[in-house]
């Protein structure tokens, strides 16, 4: 590639410059960026992030400049090297688990140690006995063995009970035989398995004395600890390229009657007694379900900031991109900033509002989880010690909380990851043609995030769990034996007013707006109950209704949580009153825009009138867009993404959008190192001029 000529280097974008435009945006608004950022994250978390970021930036291995260009193999190799470095930095700087997680988030790519660091360690810890923790966990903590969590198979994902891999107890020599009877039994999609792991927690159907006891976890070595070659009768590898997530080596794994010792079966909650050869259950695995709930809560928590990256990039770029004059403006006026077009605002600003809505919802979800864990632990401790002091009331309240939390986390996981994933694509398109370039930074991020809509419960499947819970709650409300929680409370209110209806002032009153969401969710619950219990409709015929119901209930939760966050002392004391007004506008925009999108359901439920919905759309939402518009850039600034993290030409904090696009294309792009022969009749297809390229083709 010839060096960039001097005349090119001297070129500037036509004015006004991106930096000037962003400066003007920031001058228009008084939103205190730092204060707001502290409200979102706390000072302590912001400082921790900065400290870790400084370390990462100083290490060459984390340099991102070739990320968008590298092919699959290079990306994986680099990601593994980074994972190793990160582990070593953790030791060197004595980072806590939280700091280690912050570092991973800042690097922003799935790494090959990902499943070792999470599910492998967690499962050993939670489901292993002390003996097993001594045997496996300590080595795993020291990275003497590297593991993964092998549950999903080629033929079975969501339906864990249908797994085909077997673990058969052999009474003669006190071993288990791990076996894959079919091709579809092959473990599939297993993160960190393809090239990296030498151990796996394998979920397999336990068979004892010819009887199957369902899926259980086994710790199985799969590769030699020195040569890293697969062990005999183990077939393992990477499953190939994906839409995203290509820095991760998702793998496959087949066993041909592989013997493992008795200690391999993780035995905290159930085991095979080697003396009697009997299957024995012990203790309650409810803490494991707790972990799943925790994972889903984390997804809710992260959805806000996942989406905020896209919104930050698109908002900044749309403040810089100018295209066409306003049709009603005098001829000769300058081109408008794209962010001034209402058609762009209506796509971006409700998503900006959603980032805050999801963030506050996630925070409240985590609080709820921690509270419930405390209660559960208290009750399980007392029940472990012979049920002393824990009356039936308290036990019941513990399991009620768990059921409520489980359903809430399912519904919110589905809703929030769908909003984040689809919102990112909206942000990408709002960037016009340049959104399609990898340098936008949105596409690769979106592609990596997409699996979140499928894993930890497919977003469609999960809605059935929410519906089941809501139906159950409605039945208990009808019977009069409902536990007291928010869900039964809104259902009871709806029920008590079903004869007289409601009259919500959705535009004039925030409280009424939240209540309208509760009303619609309750209406749909009792409708579904009628279909199922009175009309005896088939479950399968109600799945679409259940999906809508789950969405309605989760949207209510988000609106309620955003509203509560506004009322909280932290918010009231954390920002000045004009910033509070902006947050309040964001709340109303999120709620009213959602209400308008789901207009026909709100109307059908009687929660509001046709006129109100039409007013919300043509009047209130449009006014809120106008009110929020001047603060848009400062509001995304408050999310505090460093340029190094965003890795986006379009989202640069200094507005040097075009300079950065050009630099990456012209100076970094390896395709520009080859010169081709363009003619169809040439004898050789290509003529390469750069040695480096010629060499790689040898």
């Amino acid at each position: 590639m010839a060096p960039t000529p001097t005349w090119v280097k001297q070129l500037k974008p036509s004015g006004p410059q991106g930096s000037e435009l962003l400066a003007a945006e920031r001058a228009k608004s008084n939103v205190p960026v730092e204060k707001l950022q502290e409200l979102l994250f706390t000072k302590q978390v912001i400082e921790r992030k900065k400290k870790v970021l400084d370390v990462l930036k100083s290490e060459k291995i984390f340099d991102k400049s070739q990320n968008y260009f590298a092919g699959r193999t290079d990306r994986f190799e680099t990601a593994l090297a980074r994972a190793k470095k990160l582990r070593n930095l953790r030791v060197e700087h004595n980072w806590s688990l939280d700091e280690y997680r912050v570092a991973s988030e800042l690097i922003s790519e799935p790494g090959p140690y990902g499943l070792h660091d999470s599910m492998f360690l967690i499962t050993l810890n939670e489901q292993g006995t002390q003996e097993q923790r001594d045997e496996f966990l300590s080595k795993a903590n020291d990275y003497k063995i590297i593991g993964c969590y092998a549950q999903t198979e080629l033929g079975h994902g969501s339906n864990v009970r249908g797994l085909e891999t077997t673990a058969t107890w052999n009474p003669e020599d006190k071993t288990f035989v791990i076996h894959s009877p079919y091709l579809t039994a092959s473990k599939w999609w297993i993160g960190s398995l393809g090239r990296t792991a030498n151990y796996a927690v394998v979920m397999a159907q336990l068979v004892v004395n010819g009887k199957s006891y369902g899926p259980h976890p086994f710790v199985v070595q799969i590769r030699d600890l020195r040569s890293h070659e697969p062990l005999e009768n183990v077939h393992v590898g990477d499953i190939g390229p994906k839409f995203g997530y290509n820095t991760m080596d998702n793998g496959f794994l087949l066993f041909n009657k592989v013997k493992v010792p008795h200690i391999s079966m993780l035995a905290r909650f159930s085991r095979v007694d080697p003396e009697t050869n009997e299957y024995v259950r012990q203790g309650s695995p409810s803490l494991i379900y707790g972990t799943l709930t925790w994972v889903r809560s984390t997804i809710v928590m992260q959805a806000g900031s996942v989406l905020a990256r896209g919104v930050t990039i698109a908002t900044r770029y749309c403040a810089i991109r100018r295209q066409f004059q306003d049709r009603d403006a005098a001829s000769g006026s300058a081109e408008s900033q794209v962010l001034d077009y209402t058609m762009v605002q209506i796509r971006l600003l409700p998503l900006l509002a959603a980032t805050f809505a999801l963030h506050f919802t996630g925070k409240s979800m985590m609080n709820l989880y921690q509270e419930s864990q405390k209660k559960m632990n208290a009750s399980s401790t007392s029940s472990d010690s012979g049920n002393r002091g824990a009356g039936p009331e308290e036990t019941r309240s513990g399991s009620d909380i768990l059921a409520d939390l489980h359903a809430t986390s399912c519904g919110l996981k589905a809703l929030s990851s769908t909003i984040a994933a689809e919102g990112l694509e909206v942000c990408r398109r709002a960037c016009g043609g340049h959104g399609y370039s990898s340098f936008s930074g949105i596409g690769p991020w979106y592609a990596d995030y997409l699996p979140t809509t499928t894993w930890e419960g497919d977003n469609y499947m999960l809605t059935q769990q929410v519906a089941r819970y809501l139906l159950k709650s409605a039945r208990s409300v009808l019977k009069g034996d409902a536990p007291s929680n928010d869900t039964t409370s809104i259902l009871s209110t709806f029920r008590s007013r079903s004869e007289i209806g409601c009259a919500f002032d959705i535009i004039g009153s925030d409280g009424d707006l939240v209540s309208a969401f509760a009303w619609r969710a309750s209406f749909l619950t009792f409708e579904a109950l009628k279909h199922r219990d009175e009309q005896g409709k088939a479950w399968n015929d109600l799945l679409v209704d259940f999906y809508r119901l789950s969405k309605a209930h989760s949207q209510y939760m988000v609106v309620k949580n955003f509203y509560s966050a506004l009322q909280s002392p932290e918010t009231r004391s954390g920002v000045d009153s004009s910033t509070f007004d902006v947050l309040h506008d964001l709340f109303r925009l999120y709620a009213l825009h959602t209400l308008e999108q789901e207009g026909s359901e709100f109307y059908a439920s009687g929660a509001c009138s046709k006129h109100q919905i039409s007013l919300a759309r043509t009047n209130t939402v449009m006014k809120l867009l106008q009110a929020i518009r001047p603060h848009a850039v400062r509001l995304v600034d408050a999310w505090g993404f460093d340029d190094w993290v965003l890795d986006s030409s379009l989202g640069r904090i200094d507005g040097k959008v075009y300079e950065d696009m050009f630099y990456r294309a012209s100076e970094l792009n390896p395709l520009n190192k080859i010169t081709v022969d363009p003619y169809p009749d040439s004898e050789v297809l290509f003529r390469k001029v750069e040695d480096s390229v010629v060499k790689s083709k040898l």
Copy 2:
């Protein structure tokens, strides 16, 4: 990579096998696949496709097995080699332009000759004089020069008038100076420019005597014809990786006062007189707008089959994938096919219906285009020859047709490409986890298709053109001087009934169903007119309304065209009555599902009642899903995609889904050729065991 062990090779998926399941699906339905395929495409087109496909399959260079694995540079190089081969095959087999296009479609990847073959040749032909065609077009036709079409710039896309590249006429030496005054003037996104082209048609602001005359096309050489190095004062290269379309070398291009001769400005419609140094307009460039309309019509035409690829893959896979038992089924029953879940049906089957709806709409659009071209040519011939015989009536009718066609093509381009792009993503997700694998074939296809929503008019921008046309039509209806066409006819009908309202039997009558779509579009048109003309709202404040209006009108067009296609003699005589009933169900599903999705607008317009919308959803649509379900596999079979074309494990016609996934992962995947050292404390980061890989890293 170690060879696959024998025990692995002997494994089969657990039964029933995919092949058995698809056979059972095909046995359930009598839809005559071949007949239906002929109705869609005609026998002649099907045979032509088969002939071309056989040639492609026999050429090694078109082998697709490494497509999903290769990195950017390899993919581009292979694509260029394929483009050359394709050109040579065209000569060898004496393929027509249509056959050449069919071949490109079958290969299904953007190729580096793409813009040479289309916009470069078309522009030279349509906008060049005879002298210019002799000079440039003949060489271009012979691939002695390879060109592209350089319009979009880093700073300007949709707003062509805002382009910054200048072409200044120099009276002294009768040349133009092509110049890029700013970095944002850099041509950007130009297909085939990055590495391949040595010529470009450059759109630049023509400046004569200090006065600017707007953008004009110039033919400019940019690379040396032998060395292929950029000419002096030309800076050109590839713009880097994108979300998709990575086989194409989209490029950038900057000029530093490059002189080109007088002949460079394409002069059919305007030129600079070299004697007087005056700018001269000649003839009417309306045919050029015709080309844009043609390009948009092609997009509408293709949207159906673009989407059908995704629907084919997802439908076949969902007939094979089994997950969970039906909740109401006896315990111990087999797992259900995913396609039996209503939540999957509601996502896939309306898209299956959409493939037919879009296909018939595209066909009718192309017919309309050809008719209009005939009329335009007739009227332009007579007007060229002194307006003989062409009265004002006929001329006006010509421009009316053009205006109608322009608006229709804008609206339908936006709607159909949005349906296709977003539908593909729905198909991908309907495949669950495996949809995320590149081997699904949907992700890469979706990513390559996405730019269609932006180019040839951004889908959001285009809706303004539709709205403007509808407002104009409504004004002429009110004034009583409306030309007679379908748009003014539905507006007049609405207007004449505005006092008495309507009563459409949307569920009982097809005609009424179509009329309900016309009613809603007309309602929104007059609402928008009221906002603009009576209330004097700003254009910018109405963009969201305009977007909805355009969508409503285009949805009406699609429903109307699907309905007309069902009524046509070809359809009536082309298929037996039970197949006709299936097509009729598809029509109703498409129309009623769309109506339900847009329920609040239909309701607000008075086109139907709340009760009707609720019936459509809970009753009619669910019944239609049930009725269409047994025919789903045969209906996608009728689209006639060869496995070679789909390149999808999940969409295989023989149902060997899991075998193919496994084969590609285990045998083809190059990542499995490397063995890594997994430990964080290892001195070397990686240890490679295969020579081939070691070499490529030298």
